[in-house]
Subunit: 159 residues, 2 copies
């Protein structure tokens, strides 16, 4: 189940999709963020065949999102731990979850992100770092730079 590659595109969104590779990859990243590290844990959570899981974990290691670590020598056993690069996908995962809770499941999450200090549940929201304003509301527009696609340059204000 390989996807068409977007490597030829310059768009960072397309590049991210290309790196993460397949839907299942993001669910494995989700599970790794949730603290799972071992093959049998991922298998139980995902309910997929050992062959598929082996291939998907290897892909994520090849892309530098997970790191294989030997935790036992006899018999040899590896676990899979998120790299910084992989851990940085948390905003993507949280944004996907927030949309799904709002528009599909209508329920709170089964696994919840909490503040270490207060234990309060986190409510993820995307804001502008400079102003703190929420990006899911009004008050923002897109503008095209010189390297944007011509069809977008004709539609959008210029940077």
């Amino acid at each position: 189940m390989r996807h068409k590659s977007f490597e030829e595109m310059t768009c960072a969104i397309a590049q991210t999709l290309n790196q993460v590779g397949e839907w299942w990859s993001l669910l494995l990243i989700r599970d790794a963020l949730h603290g799972l590290t071992r093959f049998d844990e991922f298998q139980q959570s995902m309910g997929i065949s050992p062959n598929s899981l082996t291939r998907r974990l290897s892909e994520l290691c090849d892309r530098g999102l997970l790191e294989r670590r030997r935790y036992q020598e006899r018999p040899p056993r590896d676990e899979y731990v998120l790299t910084d690069r992989g851990r940085d996908l948390r905003p993507v995962i949280e944004a996907l979850g927030a949309w799904g809770r709002r528009h599909v499941t209508g329920k709170k999450a089964a696994v919840r992100l909490r503040d270490d200090e207060t234990g309060a549940e986190v409510d993820p929201v995307l804001v502008d770092r400079h102003t703190g304003r929420r990006l899911d509301g009004e008050g923002f527009h897109y503008a095209a730079t010189r390297v944007a696609h011509p069809v977008k340059r004709s539609r959008l204000p210029k940077v």
Copy 2:
């Protein structure tokens, strides 16, 4: 290029992936957020065949992410406009873009989100709505509710 369905899963992340359907869907949503509405605009931007594009636009309409609107009667011409449900994917798109710029392209975006009032470029960051703290840093942990998968309940603190 259909994906295995995740409908049977209760996870909101999986549900979102199920709704968005394929990588290409998210790139079409990106283009719609960038202001494109017409078939030939999407085709120029995406560089895919008319057949593929027709099918993908129809899927997004069926899922309530885009809405088809007639803008000309003779000859009949439709355009495709984001619904509220579709527009709500902006945090997902921006989170994907932020990751790609940081870890893959290393470049600024070709199309940039700007503040309406100041014209300043937006730097999207996911924070906790309650505290304003960034979710890509330390200071957070996941906890499992009673409905979480047993393998996660055994790994995580309980809610």
